[in-house]
Symmetry: C2
Amino acid sequence: MSEENSFLSGGTVTSPKGFVAGATYAGIKTYAKDKFDVGILLSNEPCVAAGVYTLNKFVSPSVTLTQQHMADASPRAAFVSSGIANTGVGEQGMIDASESVELAAGHVGIPIGEMTIGTTGVIGVELPMALIRSGIPSIKLTRDGGDAFARSIMTTDRVPKSVAVTVTCGGKSVTIGGCSKGSGMIHPNMATLLSYLTTDASVSKPFLQDSLRTAVDDTFNMVTIDGDMSTNDTVMLFANGAAGNRTIEAGTADAEAFAGALLVVCDHLARELVRDAEGSSKIFSARVEGAASIADARLAARAVAGSLLVKSAIHGNDPNWGRVVAAVGYSGAEVDVTKVSFFINNVAIMEAGTPISFHREAVIAIMNNPEVSLTVKLGLGDASAVAWGCELTEEYVQFNSAYTT
Amino acid sequence: MSEENSFLSGGTVTSPKGFVAGATYAGIKTYAKDKFDVGILLSNEPCVAAGVYTLNKFVSPSVTLTQQHMADASPRAAFVSSGIANTGVGEQGMIDASESVELAAGHVGIPIGEMTIGTTGVIGVELPMALIRSGIPSIKLTRDGGDAFARSIMTTDRVPKSVAVTVTCGGKSVTIGGCSKGSGMIHPNMATLLSYLTTDASVSKPFLQDSLRTAVDDTFNMVTIDGDMSTNDTVMLFANGAAGNRTIEAGTADAEAFAGALLVVCDHLARELVRDAEGSSKIFSARVEGAASIADARLAARAVAGSLLVKSAIHGNDPNWGRVVAAVGYSGAEVDVTKVSFFINNVAIMEAGTPISFHREAVIAIMNNPEVSLTVKLGLGDASAVAWGCELTEEYVQFNSAYTT
């Protein structure tokens, strides 16, 4: 994080000026009573908006409807509900998404086209519309409603995940806030990732979309592999210009400052997602340096972070580096075995394709930390990437073998 | 299996005429004392040979040396050792592979170029050559040594996996035998797959390679995804012509009969591999029908069989079909959500993209079998494929978090 960005204590999606949010208990999450399960996020003024969505072909109508509104209008609000994914329910899915959006837009007094929708939870069950109809009117939107909104998107998440940072753009202080949900293994991901980002900066629409795409590729997509996206993954970014800065355009110093701050927000949320994965109390970074290309660096870093055997080794504090280099080997990235070096928390384990002796007990002790770093140096170029993974635990298996039963 | 093929009771790699094998305890598998850990398989007569190898760029010198001998000569024998992978040890790996092959070839009295090598086990540890040097001379090759050979390639496998079938080609009865090892999760695979196949049929070299490639694609590669191959994966097929049949050439009825029998052998071994996966006592088939192409069918079937959440659901007898269709959705295969149907053991769960009511308790009871079938019908074409997966268990995590420590 550069010195220009500073984290706001207790920051949320309503930290930026002009945003309000709220949530209530509609009764959808029968497995988690007394938790918010419907929420609304709103900018009081019109917004420029950007979005990144799942590539899963078995896509939720909630995502499809949001994409339609993003194409046809300029959304400034999001309705969310958790507990039911609104996916795999045939034509009823779009009917229910449309009614939910209409009810939410009506409740806050904006055109239907300016409301988006995000749903997450069990697939194949219809949204309980009676509960949603009775829930929406009791959502009260306030300037400090960001925390309630963050809680309303949680499913098996253990803690809400919110953040906000400020950055100076063209002499004005602007704020970027965000929240995310997404438990499960994250990687290989099937749990839905929902993330809502807000800013009071004025940003041109093309640059807003570009900067979001870039930030997502470097953060959320390094914990959630593209090909493994869930049916409902959605990242939205609303910019309302309430900070009064001159509109940020690509290629300017303002753009660089804004993109840097957005990356900080997304990086923080992505790591929190991994940290909160089901059954896991330990995360690790898989850093790949010296790759021939950025695409190779990402492929290799993701393969390491996604390897079940690496995740198991992290759980057991097992410096089983063979699993790490083998994952790099099958990742598809260019590899010259004689140039590969590997480090666990900066302790050299392998150099130039040959293991070097290390103090085994010392490395095991190092691995017994809540965060472990694995670094692979390929020695082929200067591209690098970092992916994040969590340990694989017995609890994960227990949890996920009994999710719907 | 067609009626022309028949399984031989107790069949092994030495069931075909002219093959001998043997194994001994060299002391390499310190974690599994009193188990065979070096072995040799030999055809008494010259062979035509075919091989399929790992695509992992972090490849074992054992694989590289085998490929060199296959290119330069016509191998008819294999030396195997288990416990140490001979991978990730720098230049020493090729030195040790070469010495092992030389010793084994000398022991059985064939040119060095006719001997191949397969090693499996822990990565990053050098082969204990003193043990191998003292072990090889005590390997006695006999006509009933197939079982000992099958045991000598085991690592964490619980049981040896051998099979042999006979088939009539051009009026002669020919036999195909085989054995495999490969525990771990298999899929996503990091555990090494080693499989040795033998036949007394006379087969042209191009057709032998083609038929092996096809059989591997339909069987081993449907439990071990290409991209997830280990550093040492090797499938070898030796044909010595001792059955006296006319040489089998592509495009003939003989070729069809032989390819069919080879598929039966590989299919049997691949399923046994899944059944023997660490910590698992339950396997499932992921069948995809009605795909637009065979590539799509395979992609989708593998995605289902490889999904951690599906594996967890199988473990918990949880008819969580949303996880199955979501895996199909992210597989990369062409999908039209409105045409997807899904069945658990032939009970319809979803039709045309919409869930249909089913007797939940009955399906849970069905899933409580040692073998579960999941069938997805895409309704787009007539291509189909089957992949095999095993449940994900708490025991798997326990086992793999303490493999080297």
